[in-house]
Symmetry: C2
């Protein structure tokens, strides 16, 4: 019976799977068994991934993060690596919606007024309802966000690297090359794309200039998607606003002008990693275990260890 | 052809209706016509409602607020009064969701850290996803909120004055008398009920004590639904949290302890009145005009002027 190790944070949530023996291991100590075939690596434990070499019967490694590049070089020969798919979508889309709503409904103003004990009259009358939202990056996070936005009575336009037909939320997915014609037609833009050479700096001075006055840019992808100086320039004049869960540089150093730019709301890279993670990772791991028992391989394989 | 007056804020949004003459009047000046049959009163113009007596052909008055008691005594004999139905649901549900998300995702902490230019590590891992939300008050606001919450992967339980069958969002609507058994089973409670002698103080020390640790109470109804002192006591110990768009007293005076109670987030009664209002009120008024032309009466009549 294959032995499969899972992190302690999700072990209590894994239903027993017939035909597999589940053991708890966080990868940060000596393995209690040398016959583990599949390892589920906990989030934030990448420094310990060298221990995988201690498992002679290892066949598969399942990460708890979407990113996997850091793990490839530690893979023993022929071992399959799968990343985490979908387990952070809910939390990240939720944080994007939180930043959008907080910015639209002027929440930072109310927090500051509360600290001063002042009941301030409302100045802005912005709503999220009726706004035209451009979701840039239409993977799991983008789809989870689209569902939330549509329930908030917005219109949603989706953008991905290539154009394709849509889904239950959008009729079509536009290509990123269409951004110049799409940006002027949207009140809110949310970036939910990974960082790559293709996406680095995708929102610079030229793209920001295409946005209508008072538009809101929200970034839950990676900081370098946006030209920070260009964003500061547009927000400092009051023309644009921003909600940023990620920044460039990150962490944002003390005294950086972004901290105090008007209309900029910053959360310190907290989109993922909520209590929504363990149950979703547990469901994903159960799928992985069942697939492994059936085929001898994990699903969502992103790399294989080389000799 | 019946002459119908509408406020300037919605006049540009009203499509021409065959068989009616639409004029613009904000009720705060002398009427330009004495043959107006139906008046749409703008929000916040209730002080001027005495002018209705100057219209000899008046048959119907349409308010822009859900509340209507203030207008009844100014109705000329036999004139029908309709309140605004549904036009503020979207904005109010949106603000409830904003308070819920801001509280769950710790947004006030990030606003304060930003003001200090500090990148703080995340302490709480709360999500909205997976939370059990009790929506107390299941009229238009409650339903609009349920739609938003379900898209955020929560479970939703609805409560109204009397039990009834549910809708597309919930299987059943529970009676308010079931609150004592429902409160312990929910992580988040949102109050969206009007104030009446039946609802005043509906959440007191006893009800708060029934909530699980770390539960969040959000109030977008009216302040006196909640016993303020009891709420302060539960939040001061860190056991409960609150997001309040309405307070008792209101406006909350300088120096009131609620301002600085830990875990309490206050917005100054801003749930309604966003830019989402004019298009919704315009649609509602169009419905009213068409109904009036067909039947000689408005819909949603809540009072009739007495001799």
């Amino acid at each position: 019976m294959p032995v499969i190790s899972v992190p302690s944070v999700i072990a209590p949530l894994i239903e027993p799977v017939e035909g597999a023996e589940i053991v708890t291991w966080n990868v940060d100590t000596e393995p209690s068994r040398d016959d583990i075939e599949m390892v589920v690596v906990p989030p934030f434990n990448s420094p310990y991934i060298t221990r995988l070499a201690e498992l002679p019967r290892l066949r598969a490694v399942i990460l708890s993060t979407a990113g996997y590049e850091h793990a490839v070089r530690f893979l023993p020969p022929d071992v399959r690596l799968a990343n985490a798919v979908g387990v952070h979508d809910s939390a990240t889309a939720e944080m994007a919606l939180t930043l959008v709503l907080a910015a639209q409904r002027d929440l930072p103003t109310f927090v500051r007024a509360q600290d001063e004990g002042r009941w301030v009259p409302m100045e802005k009358r912005r709503s999220l309802a009726d706004q035209r939202v451009l979701v840039v990056g239409y993977g799991g996070i983008g789809r989870a966000l689209a569902a939330r936005l549509l329930a908030c009575e917005t219109s949603v336009t989706a953008v991905a690297s290539r154009a394709r037909t849509g889904d239950e939320h959008v009729e079509v997915v536009h290509a990123v090359s269409e951004l110049p014609t799409l940006l002027p037609e949207h009140d809110i833009v949310v970036l939910a794309v990974p960082l790559s050479e293709a996406t680095r700096g995708m929102i610079g001075a030229r793209e920001l200039a295409l946005l209508p006055d008072d538009a809101l840019l929200v970034n839950v992808g990676r900081g370098p998607l946006v030209d920070t100086d260009a964003l500061i320039a547009e927000c400092a004049t009051g023309r644009l606003r921003a909600g940023l869960d990620v920044t460039d540089p990150e962490p944002l150093p003390e005294g950086h002008p972004l901290w105090s730019t008007p209309g900029v709301l910053i959360s310190p890279h907290v989109a993922g990693g909520t209590n929504a993670f363990p149950p979703r990772q547990a469901r994903y791991v159960t799928t992985q275990i069942e697939h492994y028992l059936r085929t001898g391989e994990p699903v969502h394989v992103v790399a294989t260890g080389e000799e």
